[in-house]
Symmetry: D3
Subunit: 336 residues, 6 copies
């Protein structure tokens, strides 16, 4: 049975397909019998599910976060949100052991991920660095990209607020770096190498701050030290390893990393004190906020010209007005 | 005698040239005799001057703000700042009446002004609008540019903080508009016409907020109403005059004007609630801050790697590090 | 059956009367059957209701926001709040079609509205303007009142926080204007015409910011432009239409409208820079806050000397202490 | 020689009259000789003065803060401010000892003071309390007024910001109390006795916070405890002395005193939690701000439509626009 | 049956023991029958309970806040929190009347209380004051401790945030006073008597701010006046009663009480202006925050290295890392 | 001639002794002749000096920041501050070259420095670490102290605000560490090794942030990276060099360094999330603030019970009240 994206499900439909378990908890109903509440996910979003006690007796699981599961059930509405009332559930692993047909099982469909082709993003980012950054910063940037490529390809850009998915960091970095290149045409007296290196490396510490890209969570170093100083150290160590020849230039790059949150209140230990650092701060912040708006607009299903209130942006967004048709340079993959 | 720019004067030098009077005040010395303190300006900056009582007796003036004057004097240092001890002073008008040789008198040299060719900036801005904005916003933008061209060519972008000089508004708008065009290559799903129209018109109200471009000061409507609502009204009236056909589109453009300061604390009556408004806010703010940094770095004459504290940016700036040579697309005019 | 006010209902009582539907949503129960949750309202408040699946089968509706409905049911308590378990429900329209007796149906009882007689408030406001404001501001104020009378008679003063009901804007304006008149006896050197015109017109833009007075919601211009600038434009256009003879006086009135939120953080694009503007700001803010307190004290049903925490005022209020008996000048209408 | 008010002095005039010494300091000139800098005051303001070494040799003083002095001198301008170059100076005490003619000496002219007749203000305040406050609060208020009448008649309302002069507290209290009476006509369901008692007593602690009404300074208890708690204690002790019969009513009055700064940031240990407390807070704050504006407008001598920046109000004020002629109920005394 | 601490209960266990009723509410189920929701407490925490209609019919109560009850039931889980499904419930009073065996009933086990022996804490606090504070402050402190001993022994330190239990004020004061003594060894030039008296008396007003130590709630004076000024008055009155001989010293102690919240935003009417006041502020705040952290760490039952978000501290806490074994000087009593 | 401390100089005295040049600038007087303004310093403070043109002709210098100079002159007062009118000045180097008697020249007297014996502070700090910190943190702390001993012995604790002098970092660290040891007796369940290591190492990065201990200035890394991350890296590198065996323990120590400013606004990239980190933050902040108060009280020379306003603490301080005599454990060296 073909996979229906969670974002496309409607009240009253039946589902018979695979999901990723994002959360699971056993509770007790009024009569004292256990039932199961789940959060199921695919690449398009998440959805609650209930396995009432009678079904649970037949499908005892266990079901843990990160498990792939096959599910039959009914989509209903509860307090204004959709959820699945489960009629049958089993783990892919168990189904495989029983020799069931898993030809429709495609893990790629089940992970929240960037809509772009990650290989292509990586390629473009690499070429941007190789083409537009001069030595000695070029080898520093390429060295770090090489060293952390594996993590960079999967890491989200944030746990919750923007690009919180597989490849999110890559997508965000690619976007900020391309914007930096464009901005340099307007501000040609800025130090282009610094701006581009800063744009590419500003969030590098995220690969140590966040773990488990399928269901992002902060690491202990991430919470106790933060990605800003972790990323700074990564740059500093790479420079040491490369015997970086220009300490003044390096210092300015380090300053961009440390100051890229723009204000102390947002966790930068120093304010941007160069124009290059100021530019990277604005481009990073702008890309994150535009993405938050995008995500909020896309998740909105209500009526009216305005979305619900966005807690971080502290406003509702305007949905009205039609967009002219555009041809994005790199189009997101089609979804089916 | 060739004009020496104020920014190039040094202690101990003699001057014999023209200035613009930016401030003037008569005081009384300890023995009860009057003397004159002046602030003199040219396109590169301002400088204090003293006309002691003996000189004042021979050169009684009067000298008022806005007068052009011919001055002979000596550059000295007082409390760490240069000033001119005047040996002779007279107004250009009086000199002309006396038939003096004024061939070296060039008012253009005496006004603080954008370093760019204003005709060229205007041409580029106009072409950007004509080429990249589609109807119906194209005619709205071109209509407003036409209607306010005279003011737009001379108005500063702010009284004090950034681009506070002849043509400052034009330079700032040109910069923001070109940046917007560049940003749209990175965010192609934004409404390009709205972004470009917003970028060009966001500060239009400045032409009513500020008067006297040679020595900018706020008008009464500027202080009691502010440029944000004044500019909004200008857009709204032009649209009415043009019978603008798309009220929803117009509303979104108006929203960009009103929200372009980004937060209520900075005087926008509404927060940006569209991605287009958010982008214009960031590009405007970024250009202003980069210019403030530029101005502060250029006005710094001290030693050490850092400038003095900048009161608005609330930080000192880093001066160290050499810049690579660049070829700006539109180069500022040469200064001699 | 006589209407029982929602604010007077108690657990265990039966109801058999009319309501206004303020919200409606269909959900699915555990067994997959649909049921209906409603919010019902009358002039005294709102209340939740449940139409379980068996009742819903007999009374299928549909029921939409804004419908008048006849209801039979039982008042019960759920999570500490009262709600109605519905035994029968039908729309007034359907009942009418069936020829049922609707003599007890009185829409006035079902709308949240000012407790005052709106005609009388309007009369008093008009007389205040006519008597106490001198030309040329008198004709400007009366012109605007005339032009927007219809909207002014019904508009709420705010969507949620204070006077959020039919005639709320009128009640608030009447109160602020009368207070302004009283304040002028203490500050006789203020410009009385400006203070009174400002007090009457300060919130005029609300008639464009808010729609649907029976269940107030913000319009798109309301959210994207805000009532402050909308009201300012209304004043400016009326003045143009009247060929208002004193531009300086007009500028000061416009300044009162734009600055009447008192601080930038609260959405005024400029700070009050005249004493008249300062006074109007204080009287507006005070009236809104006193009303919020009133509303919170009246909605409180708990025990103890203090109300629950008020989210906007950020405090609980003191309920203790008896009030001396007073004779209000204009008494709210009786409620039966 | 008739007294010329400091606020009326102009550059170039001669003075020959009496002043109050508000500050005095001996300095050394470049040649090592001592000279004297003074701040001289009268009821209209203050002014700097210099007694150069040659004059000082003949008029050695000493001159201390609080001394009355006779002065001959010349009004000149220094750094944009007027000052007196003294030709002769002696203390009134010394002049008296020498039998000089002191018929023009009138201490009342030399103290900064309320422009109103303090006896009349006191009379009106007393009558307001006696007429409009009911028992038991009436006797509490009258008891406190009686007990602190002497201090109340002279105390300023603040050291610097508003009403910083002889009788300032009385003028401010009289104004707030009259406004409270006027406001009660608009909000008749408030507890009138509480509002009026709160309005009259809210700043009572000022008589202990500030000393030396001619040149106000904070006392040690004023700085370490503050007028809010000092005033609260005064009310509480008076109530105890009177065996005040209604503890709940008293508690509400005490709450008004403690919360009258409206927010914690401004020094109230509790937020206003009753409508009566809220009203007194607004009326107090409004009167102080209106007075600050008044003072700033009156002290402004510059050109243009706007005053200089007011550091506390954080804005310049609009001076433009003519005021219609008014007849204040209680006119300030004429000044000559 | 031995008492099982609430903090040790697990899903699926049976309980048969005594509790304190902390909250009680009757609701109606879908079929219209009443059921009871309770919050039950013991010294280790609180827990929800449900008495469904069938059980309620047999055990009709009534059950009010503050009642001791005997309960039989089953521990289940609801929305991730444990609760008791009650099978039998009756009040201790009723059980006593029926002659039931109450030998296991121990009220001490049922009150949330400091884990320390309150007599011992009191003894240590008293000795600290007696040994280390010199006259005349010694008798002031001992006088106040004597006068308010009864309240001091039971009062919590706060209603919710830290030490919100029987004896909490005593435990907090004991801790701050001992820390103050330790700090004086590092800052020996501070006035030791002032520091110690301030540390012991800083929160004295809590005994008037909070009532009902078993289930703390704010009094009307507590909410309308606050513990800071109430405590200040208590010190002032004791000093008057003792004819305290050194008014300057007393003023400094009063200042410590009033300024001990450190900033105006947190309710102190004055900022600390002496080093002694600054030290007491830091030690008080530190002890409260450390206790909040303690309480949050101990109440955390989740997995992972970090606790849930703490609303007041605005962060999650790190749980990882083992603590070395320590021997506290005064060990909390054992819990079984 | 014996050295008179700057802090003891009085108007009218003669000086004949040595100073350190802290600032120097040549200016031009009205007649166009150069004169010299200096800031001279010794261990007790700084003082302005003027070398007028006639003296400068005889003593041409040059005099640069950091030079020791012998000076004869006269102490006078200018705008309320003392300054020296120089009659003779020469550098110690030149005097030495001329064979002058320099027996009174003692550089130790000329540097602003901690009043304590630095060797003794170091000894006590070392012993505290050696005695009270267990492995493995002991060797980490001692390793870092050893590695940075030279810098630690001279570095100030801050450029301006507290301990801004030779040995200031050592004095501050010694104070915080001793306080930490004392606090642990009150909070015995904290991890003592972490607290002590954190207390000793929290400001270690200052040795890289600040240069030139005799006249502290920020380094470029200090301004672009900040001492917090610099210190963190130093700890991390030492741990790597030592092959530190307990990564979880190390992480907690690193967290203390990074979070020790307590809030993001004050430059910590993370909030304290352990009780150990919270304690170190409070003890550091308290010591800095107490020292600021100390410094301000000692520098105050005015009359009255209160100091002038302290710009950082945002308050004036209370000077009144006598201190009881105390015997500090480690007394500051005597000053003559």
């Amino acid at each position: 049975m073909a996979h229906q994206l969670i974002s496309h499900l409607k009240e009253g439909e039946s589902v018979h397909q695979f999901f990723l378990v994002r959360a699971a908890e056993t509770r007790t109903d009024k009569s004292g019998k256990p039932f199961l509440t789940l959060v199921l996910g695919d690449k398009s979003g998440t959805l609650g599910a209930r396995v009432w006690s009678d079904v649970l007796a037949k499908c005892p699981g266990p079901f843990a976060v990160g498990d792939y599961v096959g599910v039959q059930g009914q989509v209903s509405s509860y307090k204004g949100e959709l959820q699945i009332t489960v009629q049958y559930i089993n783990s892919v692993e168990a189904l495989k052991a029983r020799g069931r047909d898993l030809k429709d099982f495609d893990p790629e469909l089940l992970h929240l991920a960037t809509p772009y082709d990650r290989q292509q993003l990586w390629q473009e980012l690499w070429e941007l660095a190789e083409t537009h950054i001069n030595p000695p910063l070029r080898s520093l940037v390429l060295g770090l990209l090489t060293r952390y490529q594996a993590e960079f390809m999967v890491s989200p850009a944030a746990r919750l607020y923007h690009h919180p998915y597989l490849g999110g960091l890559l997508e965000h970095t690619w976007s900020v770096a391309r914007h930096a290149l464009a901005s340099l045409t307007v501000y040609p007296d800025l130090h282009a190498d610094l701006v581009l290196a800063g744009a590419i490396l500003h969030d590098l510490g995220k690969v140590k701050e966040l773990a488990n890209p399928h269901a992002p969570e902060a690491t202990a170093p991430g919470q106790l030290l933060g990605h800003i100083v972790l990323g700074w150290e990564m740059v500093r160590e790479e420079a040491r390893a490369l015997n970086f020849p220009d300490p003044t230039l390096l210092l300015q790059l380090e300053h961009i990393i440390l100051s890229h949150h723009g204000t102390l209140e947002f966790g930068s230990p120093v304010l941007p004190k160069t124009r290059e650092a100021l530019l990277v701060y604005y481009l990073d912040d702008l890309d994150a906020k535009l993405k938050m708006m995008d995500q909020h607009l896309q998740s909105d299903t209500g009526e009216g010209d305005f979305t619900s209130y966005h807690r971080v942006l502290q406003r509702g967004l305007y949905k009205g007005g039609e967009r002219p048709q555009t041809e994005p340079e790199t189009s997101p993959e089609s979804e089916d």
